[in-house]
Every structure is written in C-alpha cells, then in structure tokens.
C-alpha cells in the first residue's frame, strides 16, 4: 500500500513537472508579452487580419465579410503584403454583446494584428476595449460608435473607416432642407444607440433651419408592426428613418399602405440593402432615399464599376456600401503595413495616422485620418426609385469634415 502511494506521488510530480516545462517552453516560443503575437517586428510572418462580423443573429453582415474576403483574395493573388500573403481569420459575433467580446478575445489570442469589424455599437462597445488593451489595430466600420480618438471606445489603435454619423446626418439634413425644401419632417429610429443618437441630431438640424419636427419615434429591433409609428408621421413632407434594413422595409411598406408612399423616406446605408435584397417591391421604392458613405451601384467611377462586376461574379451578390467599406478597410491595412515597413502594431497605427489612400478604393475617393482617427468624410445621397440606384447629391470631405461635432 505504501509502495503504491509512493508510486502515485512520483507519477504526480513527474506530470506536474512535465506540464510546467511545457508552459515555460510555450512562453519562451512566444517571446512573452500577452501570450499572443507580440508587439514585435514580425518581419518574417504574414499579416494576420481578423474579420469580426455577424453572420448569424438578428441581422446578417455578410456583405462586409465578403468585401473583406474579396480584398484579401485580390491582394494575395497580386503577391500579398510585403511579399507575404495575408492570413485572414473570420469570427462570427452574431450581433450579440457577449459573443462580440468572446470573438474579440479569440481574435486576440490567435494573434490578429489588425481587426476589421464592429458595424454596430453593440459589437464595438463589447470588443473595442479588448482590442485596445491587447494593442491590436482596430479598423471600425460603424458610423455611430464612440471610437473617435477622444471618445470612450477610441484610443491610439482604433480608427473609423466610414463617415461619422454626425457628418452623414448633416449631409442628409442639408439635402432635405435645401434640395427637397421640406417644411415638416417625421423622425423614426431604431431603439438602440444607432437611432437614439441620430434622432436628436436630426431634430437639432431641422429645428435650426426652421423645419417642424412632427414627431420622433423609436421602435424595437424585432418590430413586427410599425402602424403606430407611421400614423404619427402623418402630415410630414419627408420621413427620416434611421434603422436597419428589416425595419426600414417594414416602415416603407406601412407608409405606403397608410397613404404616405409618395413622400421621401430617407434612411442610412441600410436602404441600399433593402434595395439589393428586394425587401420592398420594386414598384414601392420610388420614395426611397439612402444616405451613405458610398454606393457602388450608383458610383460612376470606372474602376468601381469594374470592381462591382467582379464582386457580383465572385459572390453572386450586388456589391453595396458595406462590401465596398470592407474591401477598402483591407486596402487601408495593406497600405499601413507597407508604409510602416513592418508588422509592429504601434508602427501600423502610426502609419494610419499619416497616410493618404486614394488608389484602388471602392467607397471613399480618399482616406486620410484626422486628429480623431476618422479616416473618411464623404457622403452620397442615393435614390432607389424603381430599384435603380442613382446619385442625387455628393458631399465631399471639405464640406463635411468636422460638421456635427459639438463645439467647445
């Protein structure tokens, strides 16, 4: 009995010793730090790019994912970045806060250098602090998240790739006030940060211009009926609806059924998705107007049109603003790594603050960071009448940069 006990003790000691040795060896191999790819040069390894979007859950963000994939495929086919092919790692966060945090942790632990993701506040608020703590460069795809350098989820490694929401709202309000010449407007919005932040900004713009805001309503993300909300919009010359594609489509149909189908119904880039996915019958899209960073379907630049055809052939789907933004985010990462001359994340971030990217971009004509790490300041107003995207107005960085920011 005593011998068996002694044998077990020896076996246990040997096992613990082996385990400790393995841990020490793993730490030595990694070069220390956080246990992930360290902040070193990484000259002899590929750029590891993380793509973190919702593929499941209440809203699919597949266009972003496909835009990123397409860019990686084309860059790798042309030789990669600094002679190495990009290693793409994809994560599904299901548009859920807990899963966003888990996906971010996984991306960090798997050694991602640059992450592209976070089109909504739910995703960004959960993931951004994790990336910032780990030193991962974060290219954020949301217009409404607080990721500017001086905001709660911003930092020295976080950059916004799309036009900030206050600037989009400024452009949309300018369009309705000066081009459509509205006198009364109704405001609808999703009852999340996205809509909650947008509606007061719109109200402020309209009221400053002497336009009456008839009513302002927020609706839930899983709304099955918007009769209440649309009845409150009666009498408006235009309806601003700052929501996601499903709800925008429902609001459009309900507006049409309640005799408001002929007044402009303006929304964010989600309107482009409503159009491409056919969520509203073609004959009921005459009043649809989208405000977006871009829309490849309405873009007259020849290289964008060629790209859109290639995208359609590759994914059997129309390239929309999300796909274009995802594609451009990868181009930004490539440009930053090439400008930095290394995979050191601090140098990549530094490069992003100074570079100007105008070549081979599908959304913005030019990306250039301002002091808040916001890379894009352009917007377009698109009509989707009869399902045919057509640019109605374009606002440049010179007109938009800095608009909507609180002064003082």
């Amino acid at each position: 009995m005593a011998d068996r006990f002694a044998n077990r003790k020896r076996a246990l000691k040997a096992g613990v010793g082996a385990l400790l040795s393995a841990i020490v060896c793993a730490a030595c191999g990694n070069g220390g730090g956080t246990g992930t790819a360290a902040e070193g040069d990484g000259a002899n390894r590929p750029l590891v790019l993380g793509s973190v979007f919702a593929l499941t859950g209440p809203q699919s963000q597949a266009p972003y994912v496909n835009g990123v994939r397409f860019a990686v495929e084309e860059i790798n086919a042309a030789g990669g970045v600094n002679g190495q092919k990009i290693e793409l790692k994809e994560y599904d966060d299901a548009l859920n806060a807990q899963k966003s945090a888990s996906a971010a942790q996984l991306a960090v632990s798997e050694g991602v250098d640059v992450v592209i993701g976070g089109p909504t506040a739910i995703q960004t608020n959960a993931a951004a602090p994790i990336y910032q703590r780990a030193g991962v460069v974060h290219l954020n795809m949301a217009s409404s998240t607080a990721v500017a350098k001086d905001e709660s989820f911003g930092g020295d490694r976080t950059f916004r790739v799309v036009t900030p929401m206050p600037e989009q709202i400024h452009a949309a309000a300018e369009y309705l006030i000066k081009e459509v010449k509205v006198k009364k407007v109704g405001l609808l919005g999703l009852n999340t940060d996205f809509g909650q932040n947008a509606l007061p900004l719109y109200a402020e713009k309209f009221q400053a211009a002497g336009v009456e805001v008839i009513d302002s309503k927020l609706y839930p993300q899983d709304a099955k009926d918007l009769t209440n909300e649309l009845l409150a919009m009666r009498g408006a010359d235009a309806i601003v609806d700052w929501g996601f594609p499903n709800q925008f489509a429902l609001a459009t149909k309900t507006a049409y059924q309640n005799g408001m189908g002929d007044i402009p119904h303006l929304g964010p880039s989600a309107v482009g998705i409503v159009n491409t996915l056919g969520l509203v019958p073609v004959e009921n899209r005459d009043s649809l107007i989208g405000m977006s960073s871009c829309d490849p379907a309405a873009d007259t630049r020849p290289h964008v049109q060629e790209w859109a055809k290639r995208f359609q052939a590759r994914f059997d789907a129309v390239a929309d603003a999300s796909a274009a933004s995802g594609y451009d985010a990868v181009q930004l990462a490539k440009a930053a790594v090439e400008a930095a001359g290394s995979l050191d994340r601090a140098k990549i971030a530094e490069a992003l603050t100074t570079l100007t990217l105008s070549q081979n971009t599908m959304c913005a004509s030019t990306y250039k960071s301002d002091d808040r790490h916001e890379l894009m300041h352009e917007a377009v107003v698109i009509s989707y009448a009869k399902g045919e995207p057509k640019e109605l107005a374009r606002y440049t960085a010179a007109e938009l940069a800095g608009t909507g920011r609180k002064q003082g």
Binding site: K224, N228, E229, L277
Partner: protein, 291 residues
Amino acid sequence: MSNFVALLFSGLTLGAIYTLVSLGIVILYKATGIVNAAQFGLVGLGAYLAFWASTDLGLPLVAAYLLSIAVMALVGVGLERLAYAPLRSRPVDSVFLSTLAGGFAFVGLIVLWYDAEPRSLASPFGLETVEILGAPVPKHSLFVIVVCAIAVAALSWAFNRTRMGRQVRALAFDRDAARLQGIPVNRLSIITFALASAMAGLAGTLLGPVAALTPEMGLSPMLFAFGAAIIGGFGRFGGVVAGAVLLGLVEQFGGGYISTNWREVFPFAAMLLIIAFRPEGLFGGEARARL
C-alpha cells in the same frame, strides 16, 4: 377614428399570428402533456419554406403557402420521432429542453440553407389596402384574420366532434386512464405534433409578408404565444384565442395611446397583472404547464 381602426386591425393581425402559434403549443400540450419550445424554429422554417417554394420553385403564392404547411406537418412528425419519442418516459423538463434544442436546430438549419440575410415573402395581396371606417387596412391583414378564424373553427370542430378530438381531450383529462382505455397515445402524439408544426408553419407564412424573414423571426411571436396560452387558461382553445387577441390589442393600443417606446412592455405587464389576480387564467383551466 381612422387611427383607432388602423390600430384595431393591426392588433387583431398580431393577435391572429399569436393565436396560431399558441394553438400549436396548446394542442401538443393537451395530447402529450409537454410544452413544445421548438415552435419558434418551426415558425421561421415555415416562412422560409414558403419563400423557397415561391422563388426557387416558382409556385404561385397560395400554392407555396399550402406546400409549406404540408411540409411542416411532415417536419412535425420528424420532430416527434427524434426529439420526443425517445424521451417519452423521461421527465417533462428533459423533453422541454429537447424541443428547445430542436428549435435552435431549425434556426441553424435556416442559416445553413439561406444564410442570415433578411428575405421578403410576398403576400397574394401585395400592399393593397381596403378602406374601413376611413382607415386603410391592408388586405393581407384581413387575410391573416380570416385564415386564423378558419383554422380555429376547424380545430375546434376536430377536437369537439371527432374521435381523435375526444381521445385527445381524454388524454388531457387523465393520461393514465386514457391509456388503460386503449387510446393510441403514440399515434395521437404523432398527429398532434404534425398539427402543431403545421400551425407554426401557417403562422410563419402569414407573418412573412408583414415582417422580413429572418431565421429567428419566430422567437418574439412564441413568447407572446406562451403569454396568450397562460392568460387564456392553458388548454382552452377559446381562452387561448382571447388571450392572444388581447395581447395583440394591448400592444397596439398601448403603443398608440400611451407610448410607442413601451409598446412591447404593455402585453407582458397585462399578462403579469392577469396572472396575479387570476393564476388559472381568464377562462380557468390549468394554472401552469408542467415544466
């Protein structure tokens, strides 16, 4: 007045959807004693089947709807065989969890089949409306209400006038005695699973043209359906219908005349109030399902 009429019909439409989902839950509960938590997945699957039949197969919309319901009945049989029959003698909470897993499996199946991008299922009536007391009421809403009324009438007839219905009621009253009397419990279980699944599919096809198709579209209606079943008195068809319609109307009138921001809170607040004062539900029946 026109606002009132518009909200009335939108509330009745929602109530009709909740009724169909809820009746599926109640039918199954009466026959098997278990609560089927897979209803939300079945609602979504029914809607996507109708979408597939109308777009990929090119069937006329009504034919697509009918095909969806028929396929969903078969899905119900499969669900009974795989998720319920092997666990028949297990505790009800195990069966409940098994059906809940089945619901999520259906959601996963939809994502694999069509991905999570929203889709649009057309209505045979498009966006046409008819004017009632000055309010434009969507023809599809009237269609939903009429179809629901027919479904409720048909089920009531089946459960009150047919041998199968009497057997199910006997099972609900005393399962052991019913077995001893030779009632074919297993066969009834298969039939009621098929019926419940078909009801969920019907709810999904009718809901599809109203809200966009997403894999998890049945989750919210199922929550309201459970609420309807509880406040109506679990097990009573009339009570379930009344409960579902009440929830739909409270949601719409509460949102319209009190606050849209709290619109989805009002039905559950009403449910809590009713249960607090009448735990057995508005129309009596069992106070709770055995979970």
